[in-house]
């Protein structure tokens, strides 16, 4: 373990600064053996296994499906299990911090309660129009609604977009790109029974109209989704609802 900022000694060693503690914590530097095809999550795991057993971090699938391992790597939110060290290391150094804009629990673990509460507030829960005893709904694969759902449905809830969003920084109550992207997929889901409820939820004071279209969410999304386009769709839908005499 290193406590100074001396440069990495050779090409086989990475110098890794990892956030330790809570909000009032600090970076601690470790020396980690470099290897081919190493991911940032591999590095964190190595530190936890061999140097710092008390290091707290979160992961599950390790293959970019579960969305639990997002962290701030060299100042940028990333999914660490699919981020190769070779892509992000600068002169053999990496800085790993917890995801921004969410309360730190310990070390690299953040409390994601508010993130998921916002999914609920954006009417992110499906409202069924049929029961399991009825036939499965037939949704035409090439219908405009189904295509819009396809474009946004692969979200893994990693909160990278949320951490990258400037509006969340300025307006901590803003619903954020992930929750609004979810609302957009439900609004386009012809099986959902309460589209008016979605429009009302995303049109409130903390809703879609706060988006400045900076596109940081789209730039950072590890799944290459486009939440900015989804939010633009919600803005259009809310305008149409208003013009048709709705209640947004």
């Amino acid at each position: 373990m290193l406590t100074t900022e001396s440069p990495a000694k050779d090409a086989d060693t990475l110098q890794v600064a990892i956030w330790r503690g809570g909000t009032e914590g600090r970076f601690q530097t470790y020396r980690v053996p470099a290897s081919a095809n190493q991911t940032v999550l591999d590095v964190v795991t190595w530190v936890q296994r061999y140097l710092e057993p008390a290091l707290a971090y979160r992961f599950a699938c390790r293959v970019g499906m579960c969305g639990s391992c997002a962290m701030t790597v060299n100042g940028r939110p990333r999914w660490t299990c699919r981020t190769h060290v070779a892509k992000v290391a600068r002169a053999g150094r990496i800085e790993i911090a917890p995801l921004a804009k969410l309360p730190i629990v310990k070390d690299l673990v953040v409390d994601m309660t508010i993130f998921f509460e916002k999914w609920q507030r954006a009417r992110g829960a499906f409202v069924p129009t049929a029961t399991r005893h009825q036939p499965t709904a037939k949704v035409a694969p090439h219908s405009p609604g189904r295509r819009a759902v396809d474009a946004g449905i692969e979200c893994i809830n990693c909160a990278v977009c949320y951490a990258a969003c400037d509006v969340v920084t300025w307006r901590p109550d803003y619903l954020g790109p992930a929750a609004l992207n979810r609302a957009w997929t439900l609004l386009n889901d012809e099986r959902d029974g309460d589209p008016d409820g979605i429009i009302a939820a995303v049109s409130d004071d903390a809703g879609c109209h706060n988006c400045h279209s900076h596109q940081s969410c789209t730039e950072h999304c590890p799944k290459q989704l486009n939440p900015t386009a989804a939010i633009a769709g919600l803005k259009r839908a809310s305008l149409m609802a208003l013009l048709k005499g709705g209640r947004p």
Partner: protein, 109 residues
């Protein structure tokens, strides 16, 4: 409320965009031709066209400005709520009053 403000903001922007360009072009032309204030007033006084042009400009600006300023204040300061909304509404009325007064001075004989 959010959707209504959003609609007003976008519609006033659509009105303002061409008006600002025309306004700037008119300034450049007037300066290049070396028109005096009296000569400019001679062309604008009694003109329905210029009265309508700048009247629309003032109305659009007094709708657009306070909505944008409200957003900036809500993002950059902790100020929220009814007091802010009321202040911004008064700011809009102030812009409208001052603007229409200027238009009146431009077009009324």
């Amino acid at each position: 409320m959010s959707t209504r403000l959003y609609l007003l903001q976008r519609m006033s922007a659509m009105v303002l965009a061409p008006l600002v360009l025309i306004h700037l072009a008119v300034i450049l032309l007037a300066v290049q031709d070396g028109l005096s204030a009296a000569e400019i007033l001679g062309r604008t006084r009694g003109s329905l066209l210029w009265g309508g042009f700048y009247g629309l400009f003032v109305v659009a600006a007094s709708v657009h400005g306070p909505i944008g300023l409200r957003t900036v204040i809500r993002e950059m300061t902790p100020w929220r709520g009814r007091a802010l909304d009321l202040t911004m509404a008064l700011f809009g009325l102030l812009l409208l009053g001052l603007g229409l007064r200027a238009v009146a001075a431009l077009v009324l004989p």
